[in-house]
Amino acid sequence: MATLTDAHISGIARRRRIDLCFAVAGAVVLTLALGVLVALVTNLAKDGAARLGWDFLTSFPSRRAGDAGVKSAIVGTALVMFVTACTAIPLGIAAGLYLEEYARKNWFTAIVEINIANLAGVPSIIWGLMALGLFVYWMNLGRSILTAGLTLGLLVLPIVIVATREAVRAIPQIIREASYACGATRLQTVWHHILPYSLSGIITGSIIALSRAIGETAPLITIGALTYIAFLPPPPFGERPWHYDVESRATFDTAQRTQPLEDVSRDISGSHDSPTPSLRDGEITFAWRLDPGTPITQSRLSLPLSSGSMSLSDLVSAIDADENLAATISRAGRLRITADAPGEDPGEFCITNDTTGLIEAFSIAPGGGRYGATDWIMSEFTVLPIQMFNWVSRPDSRFQVNAAATGLVLLTLTLMMNGIAIWLRYRLRRSISW
């Protein structure tokens, strides 16, 4: 061992200085990055916090910035992310595992490998166009949550694949050999060892993937995500509302005025479904029921509607003539029809006559009943970034506040996803320790 010369000593000082420089540089860069993040978030919070509240989260879009909310967008984002996660994560893991543990390393897998890396760099709008052709037109999946989820799933699939491969590669070969030496098959090795040990890395990659997907707008607009949508997708097994389907139209002329039957609604309180008159071959059918789940009561009136004209009083007497129905005209000019269904509580209907127009006649579509478990997946939707995009470009500056609040919601969702990932990783670390 040589003795330390002065040159060595000063060399140590120099090397320490370099070390310190690096540490300082690292700290500076970290502070800068954090600073930018904090600035962005505070800026967003400053602009958006005022609007952020329960009613913002539970209101549908509106032309009035103060009434507008992100209900449909939150639900849309959550459901699209769910479909994305259900496609990208299993497919990505499977593909990554296959490439690492099963595929022979040859020119073909090399090409596949390069292409996966390339796919991760394809602009998202290209994915939107591809999805439009593939899912919307070719597979006929419509402009639905399913299409959106699959599109984003494909978009982020490469990220999951790459993350899976990296995580799998980090497992020491000697662990694989130990498993095979115990007589395990490839599947057993993957299932009992490779997958559990790489799961924490895969989860991290998957969350990065979902965090990218959650902010995408361009491909979703291409495949037809909506901006204004004031209803939610049908809940699994939720009750299917009655559909209004037009059977025919007729002009209902009383004393030189056309009497509309437009406002057809139940005039009693409660959450009962609105009964609807239906017109078919000159007949009006009034149908109603008192509670969801009870059978529909119908009363059919033969009215010469299609032939041309009928006076309001004729209508009243025609309705009165039905054994289940009674009609009166209120002082406000409302035609009130009371239904007294045998064996059931009386129900009421209202048909206003205060606007002029055409008779609209509807029938109740067959059905009612309940939605299937996955009907929601074919539903129309909107997502948070699209609402944000829409509001940012509006002239009314109060919409900018909404956009900022939406940004906060999006940020919170992303943080929540990351939180879940951290928790999952923590749980996994406890069961797997190297």
Binding site: I175, A181, G183
Partner: protein
């Protein structure tokens, strides 16, 4: 400098057809000199497996060049030789570990007795081989799971064991590996919390759990301190009543301490094979002597 030895007479003479009749095989093969008259094996040894003119290629690289060697049942056979001579390669032929990697080719045979199947022959499922011949590696490599799960895994891959059967088996294996007393209260703690020596014994327990016929040890103590090394050596001696042991080692004392038979390999060939005492005290080959006396390798 060492001159490359010519392959010993064995290469041409051991085209054995069946192992049913093994005594002439032992007599004729791989023993450059007849056994000394004072050699008395502990019990009369039967042959558990025999390599016959085994060649192995890593792609184009010819790593084993016609190795023929018997492995005695319930005995410890040590493989020694300078680094890179093919000991591990030879060992890993026994459990078809090479099949995990592409471009590995076997020629010749390893016959497993008494049922006489060629372990490296076509049509033999490597998984079936590994279920009968287990392995302990150079570096302790317990799975990052609990102690219990590590041992249970060998049974889980087989399937069809009840919970209680599995825990009985785990206990038996841990006892055989002299680890039971240290771990019986912490079976569900991570295996990685154990010390290196304990981890290696856990790996031995794991390979014992499946009731293997042969256990392959590839330098099992090279990562351990002398004390832990002793434990493993004792363990090998203890388990040899249950199982045949084939061990690669760089430690000459270890080979002479624990093994009953020793094989010396050099550049992919078997140079000398015989009872350990014979090989160490009276090597027939110049190279063996030089290697044992530490003049190269």
């Amino acid at each position: 400098m060492v001159t490359t030895p010519t392959p010993s007479e064995n290469t041409g003479s051991n085209q054995m057809n069946a192992a049913a009749d093994v005594s002439p095989l032992v007599a004729s093969m791989a023993l450059p000199q007849p056994l000394p008259s004072d050699f008395e094996p502990a019990q009369s040894p039967t042959i558990k497996a025999v390599a016959e003119n085994l060649h192995f290629h890593y792609g184009k690289f010819h790593a084993l060049k016609g190795v023929s060697l018997p492995i005695m049942q319930n005995q410890i056979t040590a493989l020694i030789g300078p680094s890179g001579c093919g000991k591990s390669t030879f060992l890993r032929c026994f459990n078809r570990m090479h099949d995990l990697y592409p471009n590995s080719t076997y020629q010749g045979a390893i016959r497993l007795l008494p049922d006489d199947i060629n372990l490296v022959g076509p049509g033999i499922d490597p998984i079936a081989v590994r279920m009968r011949i287990s392995m302990v590696f150079q570096k302790p490599n317990p799975f990052p799971k609990s102690i219990f799960e590590n041992v249970a895994f060998s049974l889980r891959v087989r399937g069809g064991f009840s919970r209680s059967e599995i825990s009985d088996e785990v206990e038996r294996s841990l006892r055989s590996a002299a680890l039971w007393d240290e771990t019986k209260d912490r079976l569900h703690e991570p295996a990685n919390k154990l010390s290196g020596g304990q981890q290696q014994r856990l790996c031995i327990a794991r390979s014992l759990a499946s009731h293997p016929e042969i256990i392959l040890f590839d330098e099992p103590t090279s990562a351990l301190d002398p004390k832990a090394t002793r434990r493993i050596e004792e363990l090998m001696t203890e388990i040899k009543s249950q199982v045949t042991v084939l061990v690669v080692t760089h430690n000459m004392q270890q080979a002479s301490r624990v093994s009953d038979y020793t094989a010396f390999m050099y550049l992919g060939e078997l140079i000398e094979y015989g009872p350990t005492a014979k090989v160490f005290q009276n090597p027939a080959n110049q190279l063996t002597e030089e290697y044992i006396s530490g003049r190269f390798g």
